[in-house]
């Protein structure tokens, strides 16, 4: 397996790595979501990624894109919460954007995460700056696009993207929630972490970790 591209097997590994992170961060996600929501995020994200991982492990799809798309369908079925549906949408849209590629290079990953982010924005009817998962994902997609323009390898590119997502996550702390259960708290959400942004950062962290040897 080459680290220059994410093939079917590599993409399954990335999903698996995210699953492990979601399991590991279960209590933290519960706590983050309890602070400005209902606390279900710590339950729904492990569930969603377990379903995606179980699907990926046994996938008969022929391209990583198609596999990631189907993994999104499996997530949607397993975890029909706000974030479950949004992340599932991300995987479906991202996977569809790169459905024909036999393997994903940095530019393929950039396309995947751009479509992933755009899909969530469309589904969530939201913009940057509304203190959501998008505020972690968008900087990561931008970082991947820049890395692709520079011709960077996927290992470095995903590491940079994970750092960008983490920066996005912390930047979102100063924003005011506009959507969902958190929106009713408005000003009170400023200075507090957005649980969805934390999920966004973990997704990139998992992808990055899966290509480190």
């Amino acid at each position: 397996m080459s680290m220059d591209v994410l093939d079917l097997y590599g993409a399954a590994g990335a999903v698996h790595a995210v699953r492990l992170l979601m399991d590991e961060h279960r209590d933290r996600l519960v706590a983050l979501d309890q602070a400005i929501g209902d606390g279900d995020l710590g339950l729904t994200m492990p569930k969603a990624f377990a379903a995606a991982d179980d699907y990926a492990a046994s996938a008969s799809a022929v391209t990583p894109g198609k596999m990631l798309m189907q993994a999104g369908m499996a997530m949607a079925k397993a975890a029909p919460s706000t974030m479950g549906t949004l992340v599932a949408t991300g995987f479906m849209r991202g996977g569809k954007a790169v459905a024909e590629a036999a393997a994903l290079d940095t530019s393929g990953l950039a396309s995947f995460f751009r479509a992933f982010t755009a899909g969530i924005m469309e589904r969530g009817k939201t913009q940057l700056g509304n203190k959501t998962v998008v505020d972690a994902l968008d900087p990561a997609a931008t970082a991947l696009e820049a890395a692709a323009a520079r011709g960077t390898d996927i290992r470095t590119a995903l590491a940079e993207a994970a750092t960008a997502a983490e920066h996005g996550r912390t930047a979102a702390r100063q924003m005011m929630s506009q959507h969902g259960k958190a929106a009713v708290f408005r000003e009170q959400t400023i200075g507090i972490d957005d649980p969805g942004a934390a999920v966004g950062a973990l997704i990139l962290q998992g992808f990055a970790a899966s290509v480190q040897t």
Binding site: M73, A76, K77, P80, S81, T82, T85, L86, A88, T89, M92, R123, G124, K125, H179, G180
Partner: protein, 335 residues
């Protein structure tokens, strides 16, 4: 919590099993999932399928409207929770008869996300899906932010008009058009007297003091526009009705259908006491009542309270409201 139930976790499945047992042949679950319900019997070829769905706890919403002249299928979530996009997709598949499917559901974040997702999934299977949202609650956002408004009891009129036209084998675009027309012409406002209890939570989602009411409260207990001492039925109508009338606005010479909806625990006696004032006020303002529905059309389990909906009629909507309909929960002959 004084409820007839077994385990709280079994509230929804036990209820659906009961409904299926009570109305064999008229309702069926698909995909081996009690949360996916469709009309019994063979599909009518080329009839537009109409699907709705949303959280449980609102009977007869949603599945109670599956039947002749109304809906073809519904996906049902846990109490006050959206069903999954996957469940919506299963229903969509089951009711598509080649003419496409119209989703009509209430404007709530989780439901919108999932129905949009189901639309996307259905399109991958070449099923055409269109959507019309119920967003009739004038108390839930100002008119300038109409797209933020929640859907409440007035959604019944969307079902009724679209369902009647679909029964006549009109094409999807037409069925969607009348659902949109009904949506554009219906307004609702509610008032709550007591909270209700989500079984798995076990305690009320909010408190209302002994002598208190909340005008404009949503059917999940969403904050209303005014909390205050409980006043007389006439005074309540005098506060709610103008808010509805001014919003569309409904004007002298208009003809309307009126729906007085009980939220659950409120007896029909009281709904009619409210309606009495509605009828007088409308008459005074020169607005004619074509017909009236009084009863439980969209509830919040055992919440005490009521809502008033008006649908402004033109000849087309009047004809569609008048058409017969028959489901296990609602039956109307040709008016």
């Amino acid at each position: 919590m004084k409820k007839f139930l077994n385990e709280a976790e079994r509230f929804v499945p036990d209820m659906i099993e009961g409904i299926l047992a009570a109305h064999p042949g008229r309702l069926a679950s698909v995909a081996d999932d009690l949360h996916c319900l469709v009309k019994g019997g063979p599909k009518t070829p080329n009839k537009v399928g109409i699907a709705s769905g949303g959280g449980s706890g609102h009977l007869p919403l949603f599945l109670g409207y599956i039947g002749d002249g109304l809906l073809d299928g519904c996906s049902i979530g846990d109490v006050f929770q959206s069903p999954s996009a996957d469940q919506m997709l299963e229903v969509t598949r089951a009711i598509d008869a080649g003419a496409g499917v119209l989703y009509i559901y209430g404007n709530y974040g989780g439901d919108v996300l999932n129905f949009d997702m189901a639309t996307e999934m259905a399109s991958m299977e070449d099923i055409t899906v269109e959507t019309v949202l119920g967003a009739d609650d004038v108390a839930s956002a100002p008119k300038t932010e109409g797209q933020k408004r929640r859907g409440v009891a007035g959604i019944f009129y969307l079902f009724k008009c679209a369902g009647a036209l679909a029964a006549e084998l009109a094409p999807l675009a037409e069925v969607k058009r009348v659902a949109e027309k009904a949506a554009a012409n219906v307004r609702t406002m509610g008032v709550a007297l007591t909270p209700c209890i989500v079984p798995q939570v076990g305690k009320p989602g909010f408190e209302l003091g002994e002598g208190e009411m909340e005008i404009g409260m949503g059917i999940h207990g969403e904050r209303g526009i005014r909390r205050g001492p409980l006043v007389t039925a006439d005074t309540i109508v005098d506060e709610m009705l103008p808010a509805i009338l001014d919003d569309l606005p409904y004007e002298r010479g208009d003809e309307v259908s009126v729906l007085v909806n009980g939220l659950g625990a409120t007896p029909k006696e009281e709904l009619y006491i409210l309606f009495r004032r509605v009828a007088r006020e409308l008459q005074q303002r020169g607005i004619t009542i074509f017909n009236t529905y009084v009863g439980e059309f969209a509830t919040s389990m055992e919440m005490a309270g009521a809502s008033i909906s008006l649908l402004k009629l033109d000849d087309e909507l009047k004809r569609l409201v008048s058409r017969p309909a028959d489901t296990p929960f609602f039956s109307q002959p040709q008016l």
